[in-house]
């Protein structure tokens, strides 16, 4: 295999970026502090100067920096996104992570030599969709949707070549096809595609109800935590709902993705980049997760045994899933 395995780690802040790089990230991904990126949360992300410094730091330490501009450009204000592309190139981005077809087109034309990755938000889930972006725009890597099984990932990766594939292995899990979900927009008026947020804190409210804490998003009651029960963040698709009078986590239990046990299979499939979700996470978390995954990837790269116990320990006490990577999830 010619392409080395790559651990792709989140960086929500300059300090977080340095933490990830120091912990052994092969590359870090981050975005500007505006609606051009899909983690447009208060207190997160980088201004122009911070991004240039972050790129310099990553490069000094042998890491790559991938800059995400992965929301869809708003009509009439596409300049904001195009300026973001120009600035990211100038800052020294090793690759841009893009979702909007027109922004991909712009980046390719304005910066012919710039390496481009297709964001998971573009939802390219077939060999044909990947070929479309690879052949027309010279996309070098596609981040695969989390809706695929390992078998489908194998087939896609074979067809995608020379375009590389990157898969999520750890962290938050979208149960809907990414970039094709308007649940948040429906409930709150703010959406991942248009504003870079999902179930935003500004639209979350809590109220006490007898012995429970009730969580609402956009005024819709989607979770009820009994006293003493850990209260997770109320994301719309992880809430509890009623269908025919029966209450359930209809879309998904409040779990996170942990595909560690599938790492060797994914490497066999030809996947070369493994992504950790969580630009909103703290530095201690990032440091531990990155370090542990880096060890596993180094072991795989040199044909040694992977210490799965250590990786499983990362989610101890929490519930996790391999998600759609196993077909029974569906």
């Amino acid at each position: 295999m010619t392409t080395p395995l790559e651990l792709v780690c989140p960086a929500g802040t300059p300090a977080g970026l340095r933490t990830a790089v120091d912990a052994g990230a092969h590359s870090v991904y981050c975005g500007y502090r505006d609606e051009t990126n899909a983690r447009n949360f208060p207190g997160l992300n980088f201004d122009r100067l911070e991004m240039r410094e972050a790129a310099a730091y990553a490069h000094q330490h042998g890491a790559k920096i991938l800059i995400a501009l992965n929301t869809f450009m708003r009509a009439g204000t596409t300049d904001l996104w195009k300026r973001g592309v120009d600035d990211a190139v100038e800052a020294g981005a090793d690759a841009l992570i893009l979702a909007d077809i027109a922004l991909v087109d712009y980046a390719r034309k304005a910066h012919p030599k710039q390496r481009l990755h297709l964001s998971v938000q573009a939802a390219a889930a077939t060999p044909e969709a990947i070929a479309f972006y690879r052949d027309r725009f010279g996309i070098s890597r596609v981040v695969l949707p989390r809706v695929l099984t390992v078998e489908e990932i194998a087939r896609l990766t074979a067809h995608a070549a020379p375009c590389e594939t990157e898969v999520f292995v750890f962290g938050g899990l979208c149960v809907m096809a990414e970039g094709r979900c308007m649940l948040s927009s429906y409930a709150t008026g703010k959406s991942p595609n248009m504003t870079g947020v999902c179930s935003p804190p500004s639209h979350v409210t809590y109220r006490e109800d007898r012995d429970a804490l009730v969580a609402c998003v956009g005024g819709f009651t989607i979770e009820r935590f009994n006293r003493g029960e850990p209260a997770g963040y109320p994301t719309l698709c992880k809430g509890r709902f009623l269908t025919d009078g029966t209450m359930s986590h209809l879309f998904e239990d409040p779990v996170s993705l942990n595909a560690v046990e599938l790492l060797p299979r994914l490497v066999e499939c030809g996947v070369t980049a493994f992504k950790i979700e969580g630009r909103q996470r703290g530095r201690a978390y990032i440091s531990t997760v990155v370090r542990t995954f880096r060890k596993a990837i180094d072991a795989m790269a040199s044909g040694k045994k992977v210490d799965f116990e250590e990786l499983r320990g990362l989610t101890e006490g929490q519930r996790d899933t391999v998600g759609a990577y196993k077909k029974a999830w569906r």
Binding site: F72, M73, R74, A75, G76, T78, D100, I101, A102, D105, Y106, A122, A123, A125, T126, P127, E128, A129, A131, F132, Y133, V147, L148, E152, R155, V175, M176, A177, R180, C181, M182, L183, S185, Y186, A187, T188, G189, S191, N193, M194, V214, F220, T221, I222, E223, C237, R240, F241, L242, T243, D244, T246, S248, L250, F251, E252, A324, A328, W329, R330
Partner: protein
């Protein structure tokens, strides 16, 4: 007001209607509905497709005899080889295709086609690119506000807007109709057939919120752009999409035709729709750039 006549497109039936109901529905549409074009084809789940395949030629024939332009809408989220091959076959067969995924745009390879509401076109640049790739008309994603539509529809006579029906909100690999009954997608037994307008999903307080249709999630409300028809036409929109529900769609089409022709007021139109057996209340939140569930004010 300009003189452009707004055309009406009947979107594909998004639900797993029993095939006899499906045929009866299109037969009546062919004979009675004042729509210009009709989209057929299974968009949500390929497991449902064989039922429709048996009767599709007769339905196409019937619609064409009724003077309707027929469009074949393709799967919104193809994932396996069989699904993309089926799409390729329909392109080869010479149907006018509505692409609902980039894979289909790739397979079309520049052939003239329509872009459906499941492809992300949020801005004028993306629209221009799709027109260059062979799109002749584009139905915009339902979450776009009027403000964006005005910019997108300007001067190209290619924009269609989702004007009636439960708004499609999300797609997943997982089937929620099956999961709600404790079974997996592979063993689904076509339980979605019982949900003619989707399965209602309520909050923990019992407030109606969403509707589930197999792998698709929709809003509980029914989009109704009645108050915005003039604004949409003035913006350059050329077509309105009416998405089938179990209510009297011939009546829905007549209401929108009258509205588009200036023969009725938005208030009257809203009242006419409200008395139909709708699965939820009328909403225009997305168009107004407020939460998509927000109800339409009709007076």
């Amino acid at each position: 007001m300009t003189n452009t006549r707004l055309s009406l497109t009947l979107g594909p039936v998004l639900y797993n209607w029993p095939v006899s109901r499906w045929v009866d529905f299109y037969t009546r549409i062919a004979d009675e509905a004042p729509v210009d074009r009709v989209c057929i084809g299974e968009v949500v789940c390929s497991k449902r497709k064989p039922f429709v395949d048996d009767v599709i030629l007769d339905v196409v024939d019937r619609l064409e005899r009724g003077g309707k332009e027929v469009v074949y809408s393709t799967l919104a989220m193809p994932t396996n080889k069989r699904e993309t091959r089926d799409i390729g076959d329909m392109i080869q067969a010479g149907y006018q295709i509505e692409a609902n995924d980039i894979a289909t745009v790739h397979l079309l390879n520049g052939k003239p086609h329509i872009v459906g509401p499941f492809i992300n076109i949020y801005n004028e640049d993306s629209l221009a690119l799709h027109l260059k790739l062979g799109a002749t008309r584009v139905c915009l994603p339902p979450e776009l506000p009027l403000e964006s539509i005005r910019i997108l529809a300007n001067g190209n006579k290619a924009v269609e807007v989702f004007a009636f029906g439960r708004p499609p909100l999300a797609l997943s690999a997982r089937c929620y109709s099956a999961r709600a009954r404790g079974i997996a997608k592979d063993a689904c037994q076509f339980v979605c057939e019982a949900e003619l307008d989707g399965m209602n999903v309520e909050t923990l307080d019992g407030v109606p919120f969403l509707a589930v249709n197999g792998i698709q999630t929709q809003g509980y409300v029914v989009t109704a752009a009645v108050r915005h028809v003039d604004a949409l036409r003035d913006a350059g929109v050329v077509s309105l999409r009416l998405s089938p529900q179990t209510c009297d769609m011939v009546r829905v089409a007549r209401v929108f035709r009258d509205l588009a022709d200036g023969n009725t007021t938005p208030q009257e139109a809203g009242e006419s729709l409200s008395v139909l057996h709708l699965p939820g209340p009328l909403s225009d939140g997305f168009l107004r750039a407020v939460p998509g569930h927000s109800l339409a004010e009709l007076d």
